[in-house]
Structures are given as C-alpha cells and as structure tokens.
Amino acid sequence: MSPDRLSTTLSALADPTRRAILARLAAGEATVTELAEPFAMSLPGISKHLKVLERARLIARGRTAQWRPCRLEAAALKEVADWVERYRRHWEESLDRLDQYLKDVQAAETQGRDPGHE
C-alpha cells in the first residue's frame, strides 16, 4: 500500500461530514439526494464531498443514467484499519520496552542505595 494512497484516504476521512456519509452508506446504497438530506447542505455541496470520497476510492458510484447510487468500498477502509493496528503494535511494543527500562532503572537505584543510610 503506497503512503500516498493512505494519505489520500486519511484526508478524505478527516472531514466529519464525509465520515457521516460513509456511516450512512454502510447501511446500504443511497442517492445523492438521500445523502444530502441529514445535512443542511446543497446538492453541489454534497457532490463535492462525494468527489473526494470517490477519488479516495472509499465509495463507488453507479452508472445508471439519472440515478447514480453511491455505495461503500471496503478496501480503502481496511487499509486505514491496518494502519491503525500498526500504531497499536508500535505503542504496545514501546510500552513493553518502557516496562523493562523501568525495572532496570529501579533495580539500579536499589543496588546503588547505601544500606547504612536507611
């Protein structure tokens, strides 16, 4: 997966309206009019968002003459999910190392303590 494609996907997802559109499409196909309905937004306004989502391959649009229903494309979302999981591994492994480092630091402090002092 190319970093550019991931950036495109993440930019597309960075907008809350676009995320809401995707959530709606998860429940099934919808027309542009249906998608525009929950937002106080014009059809051209929604269309702009749909273009961004389409370019990021998050949605696909049908070719039927007037209708052109939109549907969710899962592949790009899966790439984001994988990317998030890589972050999780990054943190988990870092915290493993932190745990070990803490033990080393505390062990060194214990050894360095002067028994006559306590």
């Binding site: 993440l10 959530a23 999910a81 998030v84 915290l95 803490l102």
Partner: protein, 158 residues
C-alpha cells in the same frame, strides 16, 4: 450489506497498562530527554535524535532507525502538560522528504494506584473539537472509577 470496516470511520485507539512504578517516575519516563530515547519505539528500533521544547505549544521532533536501517522521523506539538497526570500531544510521521503526514492526537493519562500506575494511551486518528472535549470529560471519570477499583482489588502477582 455488511461492512465491519466502517468502524474505522470513527477510529480511535486505546491502550492501557499497569506499571509497577509511581506515576511521578512514569511521567518522567515520557517527558525527560534522557529517558525517552531508552525505550521509545518497537523492538529493535534505536532513537538517533530527539529534540523537545517541552511546554504547551512547544514542538518536538525525533528520529529512530529500524533494524533494517531505515530512518523514521516523527514530530508534533505539546497540547497539554499536567504533571504527573496527563500529557497531550500531536503526532505525525514524516515522509521521506521530511514533510509531516497525517496528524493524530495522543493523550497519555497516568492514574495513581499507590505504588503502581495505570497508564492509558488514547490516540484520536481524526481530530474534531467536540470529540476531544467529550473524551476528556468521560475519560477522567472513567479513569477515576477504574483507579478506585484497582486500588481496592487484589493486585498480588502483578
């Protein structure tokens, strides 16, 4: 039509860990130049540079080398510093030209469990103002309840 991946849309990541150390020490591990380089990163990664302007609004930049030899640099801004209980910063990896990629917000909370500390790391993949405020309110009370529970629970063998 089933799309389980759609949960990615509101993706946030949470990692929790109990450490056998007081939170003042743990907080220092996250914020002290000398300590960070000793543990940050996946296994086999070595920190090669680290610059920190450690104050709210200050920036940081760090690079580490993977076992294969590739350099990975990251940078961000400190949003909140509340020692020893919370650290909030933005986080973005740099591409090969040094330009920052997608920015996420990381919140690290340190809850006092006496001689131990409950560390909770929350990473918001997409930043919205409302969500940050919401999670912070809900987060604090959630942590307090969990800390109380753990303090009274039997922690032997940990």
């Amino acid at each position: 039509m089933d799309h389980p991946e759609v949960s990615t849309i509101d993706r946030e990541l949470t990692v929790t860990r109990v450490f056998d150390a007081p939170r003042e020490l743990l907080f220092r591990m996250w914020t002290d130049l000398q300590h960070i380089a000793k543990w940050w990163g996946p296994q086999g990664f070595t920190t090669t540079s680290l610059q920190m302007d450690f104050r709210p609004g200050g920036t940081y930049r760090a690079c580490m080398r993977s076992p294969e030899g590739t350099l990975h640099c990251r940078r961000g801004v400190y949003r909140e510093i509340v020692a020893p209980e919370r650290l909030v910063f933005s986080f973005a990896w740099e591409d090969e030209d040094g330009n920052p990629g997608h920015q996420t917000i990381v919140t690290v909370s340190f809850a006092d469990l006496g001689r131990k500390t409950l560390l909770t790391l929350h990473q918001a993949i997409f930043e919205t103002v409302e969500r940050c405020d919401d999670h912070r309110r809900g987060w604090t009370s959630c942590l307090e309840r969990f800390a109380e529970y753990l303090a009274t629970a039997d922690l032997s063998g940990g």
